[in-house]
C-alpha cells in the first residue's frame, strides 16, 4: 500500500459547535437586550484530527454515538466548514450521508434518478443516460411508472444504493447505509463494495458496527470524544473500540432488583462474571476462562429444584444455556433459609460483543421459583476475525497436493 497517492488528507481539523442555550433568538429578545450575549455552550466535536486515506483504500471510521464521526464526515463532504485545519480530496467526492437525499415521493423513479444524479454533480442529460444502469442494478425494471411513495422502503433503498454505486465518484463517503434492506440486497451491496475496491475507488465507511469495519476495511480509525483514539488494522481498532465501550460501561453499574425479576419462593441475589484472575469483571477476553457466579437464597421449601443460566446476545438469541437438570443432576430439595452459591466455569469462545446473563430456578419442570432476566452483562473482546455466533476452537488445514490435474496447469 506504500507509495500510493493520497486520496483524502485530513490535517489538524477541529470543529466546535456553539450551541445556544436557547436555540432560536427572536428579534424581540435581541431588541430588548441588545448587549446581552447569547449564552452558548461550546461543543468540541472534533479536536485536532489528522489522518490520510490512500487512493483505492477502503477506510473505516468507527466510534460510538457522539464521538464526532458524523461531524467529520460532514466536514469531509463539505456540508460543514472546519474551524481549523485542512481537508484535501483528490478527484470527485460523493457523500452518502443518507440514502436517497432529495428523493421526492410524488415523482417517478426516472425523475428521482435525474434529480439525485444532478445533486451528485452530473448534468441532467448524464443522469438520464445512467437511468437504465441504475434501475437494472436496483432490479426495479418492472416498477418504473410508479411514484416513489408506492415503492416499499426496501425498493427505495435499492434505488438509492444503485445510484450510489453508479455515481462514478473517485471517493465515496458512506454513512451507516447498510443497516437497511433485506439479506439478499445486503449481499448485493457487499458485492458492490468489493467491486468498488477492485476498481480502485476510495471508500470511506463510517459506522458504529465493528463487524462491518472488520469485514470490509483495510484500515480503520477510531474516534472517541472528537480525537483519534486509534488508527491501524481493523482487528486492533475493533479491540480498542470494545475496550472503550467497556471503560464507559464500568462507570454506571446497576445491580438493583429491576422490573422483570420474579421471585416465588427463591430469591436470586447477586449475579456476576469473573475473569481470568478470579475477580469480578465487566469484560472477558476471547479464549480466556469465564466464570459466572450467582448467590441464591431459598425462602421456602422447594421440591425438585432446577437451577440454570442462559447467555444471550443483544438481539436475544441464546448462545449458550445450561441447567442442573440438563446435566442429568437431581438436586436435593431446598429448605427455607438455604443459601447456595452458583459457579459455572467455561472457556470464553464467544464472539466479541456484549452478552447478557439470565438466571433462573424452577420447581419441578414447570413452576418458576425465581427468574432474573439480564441479571448481569459482560463484554467479550478479542481480535480473532471470524464470523458466526461463537468462535469455536478449531484447526484449519489446507493441504496443497504436489501433483496437479491436467486442467489446472496454467498458472
Amino acid at each position: 500500500m506504500n507509495g500510493r497517492a493520497t486520496a483524502v488528507g485530513v490535517a489538524g481539523v477541529s470543529k466546535t459547535f456553539r450551541i445556544p442555550r436557547q436555540h432560536i433568538m427572536s428579534l424581540k429578545e435581541r431588541a430588548l437586550h441588545p448587549f446581552k450575549r447569547v449564552q452558548v455552550t461550546d461543543l468540541h466535536a472534533l479536536k485536532d484530527v489528522s489522518f490520510e486515506i490512500e487512493q483505492g483504500e477502503f477506510f473505516g471510521i468507527a466510534g460510538r454515538n457522539g464521538s464526532g464521526k458524523s461531524t467529520l464526515l460532514k466536514c469531509m463532504a463539505g456540508v460543514y466548514r472546519v474551524d481549523q485545519g485542512e481537508i484535501t480530496v483528490a478527484g470527485r467526492l460523493v457523500p452518502f450521508i443518507e440514502l436517497g437525499v432529495g428523493f421526492n415521493q410524488e415523482m417517478t423513479a426516472l425523475d428521482n434518478v435525474v434529480i439525485n444524479g444532478v445533486m451528485m454533480g452530473m448534468s441532467p442529460r448524464e443522469a438520464q443516460r445512467r437511468f437504465h444502469d441504475v434501475v437494472g442494478f436496483a432490479e426495479l425494471e418492472g416498477f418504473l411508472d410508479l411514484k416513489l411513495k408506492n415503492y416499499s422502503s426496501g425498493m427505495q433503498v435499492r434505488l438509492a444504493f444503485a445510484l450510489m454505486v453508479q455515481a462514478d465518484a473517485d471517493v465515496l463517503l458512506i454513512d451507516e447505509v447498510l443497516a437497511v434492506g433485506d439479506a439478499a440486497f445486503q449481499q448485493k451491496c457487499f458485492d458492490a463494495f468489493h467491486d468498488l475496491r477492485e476498481r480502485g475507488k476510495t471508500v470511506v465507511l463510517v459506522t458504529h458496527d465493528m463487524h462491518m469495519v472488520e469485514r470490509f476495511c483495510q484500515r480503520a480509525m477510531l474516534l472517541d470524544h472528537g480525537v483519534v483514539a486509534d488508527i491501524g488494522d481493523p482487528p486492533s481498532v475493533a479491540r480498542r473500540y470494545l475496550e472503550l465501550n467497556f471503560e464507559e460501561a464500568g462507570e454506571a453499574e446497576v445491580t438493583a432488583a429491576r422490573p422483570g425479576d420474579l421471585s416465588h419462593g427463591v430469591a436470586i441475589g447477586d449475579v456476576w462474571v469473573e475473569g481470568q484472575d478470579g475477580r469480578r469483571a465487566d469484560s472477558v477476553g476471547q479464549g480466556d476462562p469465564l466464570v459466572i457466579r450467582a448467590e441464591i437464597e431459598s425462602l421456602a421449601h422447594i421440591d425438585d429444584p432446577e437451577v440454570g443460566v442462559t447467555i444471550h446476545d443483544e438481539s436475544g438469541a441464546v448462545v449458550f444455556g445450561t441447567t442442573t437438570r440438563e446435566l442429568g443432576r437431581e438436586e436435593e430439595p431446598f429448605q427455607r433459609g438455604d443459601r447456595l452459591s452458583l459457579r459455572i466455569a467455561l472457556r470464553n469462545d464467544l464472539r466479541p460483543a456484549r452478552y447478557y446473563v439470565d438466571c433462573g430456578v424452577h420447581e419441578g419442570t414447570h413452576r418458576v421459583a425465581a427468574f432474573r432476566p439480564r441479571a448481569t452483562d459482560f463484554l467479550v473482546f478479542g481480535n480473532r476475525a471470524q464470523s458466526g455466533l461463537v468462535a469455536l476452537d478449531h484447526t484449519f488445514d489446507l493441504e496443497r497436493h504436489p501433483d496437479r490435474t491436467e486442467a489446472a496447469t496454467t498458472p
Binding site: 433568538m25 481537508i87 480530496v89 483528490a90 478527484g91 437525499v101 444532478v118 441532467p124
Partner: protein, 280 residues
C-alpha cells in the same frame, strides 16, 4: 492506476461555490421539481397557474371597477389591474415561499455539499415559470380587450430583469435571515401586503397626491417597474417611471436602491452560507 486528480481543498459550504454549471443544473432541476409539484394532485393541475391570478383579478375588478368605480379615469383599467397583479404576485409569491426555503429543504442542505443560494433561487425560478405562463394569458387578454400590440411590448424583458433581480435579492436575504430569526416570516407577511398597497398595483401613479408621488417612486423600485410597464404595455400616454420619479437622473435613485438591496442580500447570504447547515 489511472491518473489521479490533484488534491483540492475542501472549502466547506458557501453561497456560490461548487461550480457554475452544477449551480445552474441544480437550480434548474430543483426549480422544475417544485414547479411540477405546486399544483400536484389538484384536479385542474397547471391550470391553477392561470386561474389564481385570474380569479384574484376578477374579485378586484368587481370591487374597484364596478363597486367603488375607482378606475374609471384610468385608461384600460381592467387590463392594467390584470397586468399589475400578475407581476406583483410573482414577486410576493416567490419571496414569501423563499423565506422558509432553506429550512424546508433541510434534508438536502444538511446532507450534500451545496451552493446554498440554489435553494432560494429555485423557488424564484419555479415562480418564474408560473409568471411566464400567466404572462402569455395576460397578452391574450390584452388582445381580446382590444389593445393594439405595439413595439414597446418587446421591451417587456427590460421590466422582467429588474423584477427578477429584486425578487432574487429579497429571496436570498429573507431565506438566510430566517434560519437565524424565525420572526422574518410574519414580518415579511406584513411588509409584502404593505408593498401591495404601497405600489401602483390597484391604482396608477397619477392617483397618488403629488406630494407623495415622487417619494413613492424613489423609495419603492416596484413602483417604477409597474409604472414603466403601464407605459410600455397598457397605455402609451402614461408618463412612465422616469417622468414620475421626477425626470432625468432621479430614476437612478430607485435603481441604486434596488442594486443596494441586491448587494446587501449577496453579502448577507455569503456571510451566512458556511454555517447554514449547522444552524438548521
Amino acid at each position: 492506476m489511472s491518473s489521479i486528480a490533484a488534491p483540492r481543498r475542501v472549502r466547506g459550504p458557501s453561497a456560490f461555490g461548487g461550480g457554475l454549471r452544477r449551480t445552474l443544473y441544480l437550480t434548474w432541476i430543483i426549480g422544475l421539481t417544485e414547479y411540477r409539484l405546486t399544483y400536484f394532485g389538484s384536479a385542474l393541475g397547471y391550470l391553477w397557474a392561470l386561474m389564481r391570478p385570474l380569479m384574484l383579478f376578477g374579485v378586484l375588478y368587481v370591487v374597484f371597477s364596478k363597486i367603488v368605480k375607482f378606475g374609471d379615469d384610468i385608461v384600460n383599467y381592467p387590463m392594467l389591474l390584470l397586468f399589475n397583479i400578475v407581476l406583483f404576485n410573482f414577486f410576493a409569491d416567490a419571496s414569501t415561499r423563499a423565506v422558509t426555503s432553506l429550512v424546508d429543504r433541510e434534508a438536502i442542505v444538511r446532507k450534500m455539499h451545496f451552493p446554498g443560494m440554489v435553494i432560494p433561487f429555485a423557488r424564484v425560478l419555479s415562480g418564474g415559470m408560473n409568471l411566464a405562463v400567466s404572462l402569455v394569458a395576460v397578452f391574450i387578454f390584452l388582445l381580446a380587450y382590444g389593445i393594439n400590440p405595439r413595439w414597446t411590448w418587446l421591451l417587456l424583458p427590460l421590466l422582467l430583469v429588474p423584477l427578477v433581480l429584486l425578487t432574487l435579492a429579497v429571496a436570498m436575504l429573507l431565506s438566510a435571515l430566517f434560519v437565524r430569526f424565525r420572526d422574518v416570516a410574519p414580518i415579511w407577511a406584513v411588509i409584502s401586503s404593505a408593498l401591495f398597497y404601497g405600489s401602483p398595483v390597484l391604482y396608477a401613479i397619477d392617483k397618488v397626491p403629488e406630494d407623495y408621488r415622487q417619494v413613492l417612486m424613489l423609495v419603492n423600485p416596484l413602483a417604477d417597474i409597474l409604472e414603466q410597464g403601464r407605459r410600455w404595455v397598457i397605455d402609451p400616454n402614461a408618463e412612465g417611471a422616469i417622468a414620475a420619479a421626477g425626470g432625468g437622473a432621479w430614476i437612478l435613485v430607485p435603481v441604486a436602491l434596488g442594486l443596494g438591496v441586491l448587494a446587501l442580500a449577496v453579502w448577507v447570504f455569503n456571510h451566512e452560507a458556511p454555517r447554514i447547515a449547522e444552524r438548521l
